[in-house]
Amino acid sequence: MAEFLQHILNAIVLGGTYALLGIGLTLIFGIMKVVNFTHGELYSFGAYMIFMFSAMLGLNFFLAIILSMVLGVLLGGIIEFALLRPLRGANIDTTMLVMIGAWIVMQNLEQLSWGGVAKSINHPFPLDPLVIGEVSVSWIRVFVFFFAVILIIGSYYLINNTKLGKSMRATFQDRDIAALMGVNINRVYTATFALGSGLAATAGALLGPVFVVTPTMGDMAALKAFAIVILGGLGSIAGATIGGFILALAEEMGAGYISSGYRDAMGFILIILVLIFRPTGLFALKERYG
C-alpha cells in the first residue's frame, strides 16, 4: 500500500511539470495548427539556461529560473518570427518539416555548445526528503510542483481573463472571423508561440535540477508533450493539465509494476490506445483532422 501511495505522490508531483509542457504545446497546436517539434528543445534550452545562470555564473537559484523563463519566451518569439511567420497559410506538413529542421539545428547547437556530458545542477533545498507517513518526497520536487501549479493557474488566468487571452480564444475558434473582428493574428501567433515556448523552457528549468541536463533530453520531453496533447484533445488547456497528470500516473505505474525500461513507452501506448478506443481524445469534441 505504501508503495502504491508513493507512486501516486510521485505522479502528482511529476504531473505538474508535464502539464506545463502539455499546455505550452496544446496552445501552439490548437491556435496555430503547428506541430511544434522545437518544443522539446525549448525544454532543454530552459534546463541549460538554469545550468548556466545558477551553476556556472552562480546567480541566485530562483532568479535563474525566472531568467530561463524570460529567455524561453524570447527564443520562442524569435522562432515564430523568423520561421513561422513567412510560412503563414502554408499547410500543416510544410510547417512541420520546417520545425523538424529547426529541432535538428537546435539540438546539435546545444550539443556543440555544452558537450554531450550530462550536467547536474545544485539547488538550495534540503536533501533530506519530506516524510509524510509512509511516503516521502524531496523538497525540490515539492517546490517544482508548486511552481508549476502557480504557472498553470497563471496560464488559465491569462487565457480566460485578459485581452490577449480573449484574442487567442477567438483565433482558436475561427482565425478568419477573429481577423475580421480586428484581432491582430500575427501578434496572437507570436504571443502564443512565445508563451508556449516559455512554459516549455520553465518546465526544463524546473526539472533540470531534479534530473540531469543532456542535449537529447528534449526528445523525450517533446514526445511526452505530444502524448499529453493527444490525451487531452487539441487545444484544450484543461485537457492538457489532466493529460499531464494521467501520463505521469501511467508512467509511474508502468515503471513500478511492469518494468522501469517501459516507463517512457507508457505515453505512446496511451496514445495508441486512446486513438483506437476514443479517437476524439479524452476531453475533446473536435474532429481529429488537424
Partner: protein
C-alpha cells in the same frame, strides 16, 4: 528520350564496380542505396497518398530485426517449463520474413492510424516507432537489447547443395542492393500509373472528391502502407545482412527524418525524387565528414531542410523539370523568331 536516359543511368550504375577500385566508396554507395530504397518506400506514403508518416523507421527496423532473428534463430522462455526454440533459417527466408513482418505491421498501423489525419496521424506514427524502439531495447531475451545482435549471416545466393555464393564482398552486395532498388522502383512505378495509384493520388489531392467517385480511402491508404512498409522492411533486411550487426538505435527518429529529407528535397510524389534526394543526402555526410564535426553535419542537414522547404517546396526534380521546360520553350521561341527574320 526518357527511356534512353533510364538505360544510360542503369548502364552507369551497373558499371560502377568495374572501374571503382576504392572499396570504401562502394561501401558508401551500398549504404546510400539501402537508404534510397527506404526513401522510395516512404515516398509512396508521403508523396503519393500525402500522409506524413514519421514512424517509417519502425518498418525498416522491424524488417532488419526479423530478418536477423530468423537467420540467427532464437529461443524464448515462454513459461518456466516451455521454451520456444526457433532454428536458424537460410538468409533468403529470413529476408522474406522481414519483408512480410514489416508489411503486417504496416497493415496493423494502417488500420489504427488512419482513423486520424494530419498532425494526429504524424504523432501516432512517431509513437508507434518509439514503442517498437523501446521494445527492442528492453526485450533483451529476444533482441539482446543495447548489446546488439552480432554475427548476422551475410546473404547467400545460388541453389542449395549445388552452387552457392556467400556475399562477404562489397561488389556482390552492391549489385544485390542495386537489383532490389530497381525492383522496388518498378513496382512503385507500376502502382502509381495504375488505377490504384490514381486512387492514392486522388485522395491526396482532394479526399472528399475521391470519396465521392467511390474511392475507399482507408482501403487504399492501408494498401499503400503495407506496400511501403514491406519495401522499408526489405531495405532493413539488406542493412542487417550487409552490416551484420544491429542494435535498437536503428529505430531512432533521426533516421526517419533522414528519409523524409531525402524524399522532400528530391521531390515528393515523383518517381525520381527520392533517388535524387537519397543520393544527395546519402553522400553529403561523407563529404562533410572531412571538415565538420558530426553535430555540424546535422546542423547543415537541418538548415538544408529549412531552406528546401522555403525555396524549393516541391523539391529538386520538379524544379529541374520546370527549368528544362521553360528553357526548351524559350529556345523554340527564339528559334521561331530566327526563322521569322
Amino acid at each position: 528520350m526518357s527511356r534512353w536516359i533510364s538505360i544510360l543511368w542503369l548502364a552507369f550504375l551497373f558499371s560502377i564496380p568495374l572501374w571503382m577500385i576504392d572499396l570504401y566508396v562502394l561501401h558508401i554507395l551500398i549504404n546510400t542505396g539501402i537508404f534510397v530504397i527506404a526513401a522510395m518506400s516512404l515516398n509512396l506514403l508521403l508523396g503519393y497518398t500525402g500522409q506524413l508518416s514519421l514512424g517509417h523507421v519502425a518498418f525498416f527496423g522491424i524488417g532488419a530485426y526479423v530478418s536477423a532473428l530468423v537467420s540467427l534463430g532464437f529461443d524464448l522462455e515462454l513459461t518456466d517449463t516451455y521454451t520456444f526454440v526457433f532454428d536458424a533459417k537460410p538468409v533468403w527466408i529470413a529476408f522474406l520474413s522481414g519483408i512480410i513482418a514489416a508489411g503486417l505491421f504496416g497493415w496493423l498501423i494502417g488500420r489504427v492510424a488512419f482513423k486520424v489525419r494530419g498532425a494526429y496521424f504524424v504523432i501516432v506514427t512517431i509513437s508507434f516507432a518509439e514503442v517498437v524502439r523501446l521494445v527492442s531495447l528492453n526485450w533483451i531475451d529476444l533482441t539482446e537489447g543495447p548489446m546488439a545482435l552480432n554475427n548476422i549471416q551475410p546473404f547467400t545466393l545460388g541453389i542449395p547443395n549445388l552452387w552457392e555464393m556467400t556475399l562477404y564482398q562489397k561488389i556482390p552486395n552492391y549489385y544485390l542492393v542495386l537489383v532490389v532498388a530497381i525492383v522496388c522502383y518498378i513496382l512503385i512505378r507500376r502502382l502509381v500509373h495504375s488505377r490504384i495509384g490514381r486512387a492514392m493520388i486522388g485522395l491526396r489531392e482532394n479526399e472528399p472528391l475521391a470519396t465521392s467517385v467511390g474511392v475507399n480511402v482507408t482501403h487504399y491508404l492501408v494498401i499503400a502502407t503495407v506496400i511501403s512498409a514491406a519495401m522499408a522492411g526489405a531495405a532493413g533486411g539488406l542493412y542487417t545482412h550487409y552490416f551484420r550487426i544491429i542494435d535498437p538505435d536503428i529505430f531512432l527518429f533521426i533516421y526517419t527524418v533522414t528519409m523524409v529529407i531525402m524524399v522532400v528535397s528530391g521531390g515528393k510524389g515523383t518517381l525520381a525524387g527520392p533517388i535524387v534526394g537519397g543520393i544527395i543526402f546519402g553522400l553529403l555526410p561523407e563529404i562533410l565528414r572531412e571538415f565538420a564535426a558530426p553535430e555540424m553535419q546535422w546542423i547543415i542537414y537541418g538548415i538544408a531542410m529549412i531552406l528546401i522547404v522555403f525555396f524549393l517546396p516541391d523539391g529538386i526534380v520538379p524544379a529541374l523539370k520546370n527549368w528544362w521546360k521553360n528553357h526548351r520553350s524559350k529556345r523554340t521561341d527564339s528559334a521561331e523568331m530566327d526563322a521569322g527574320t
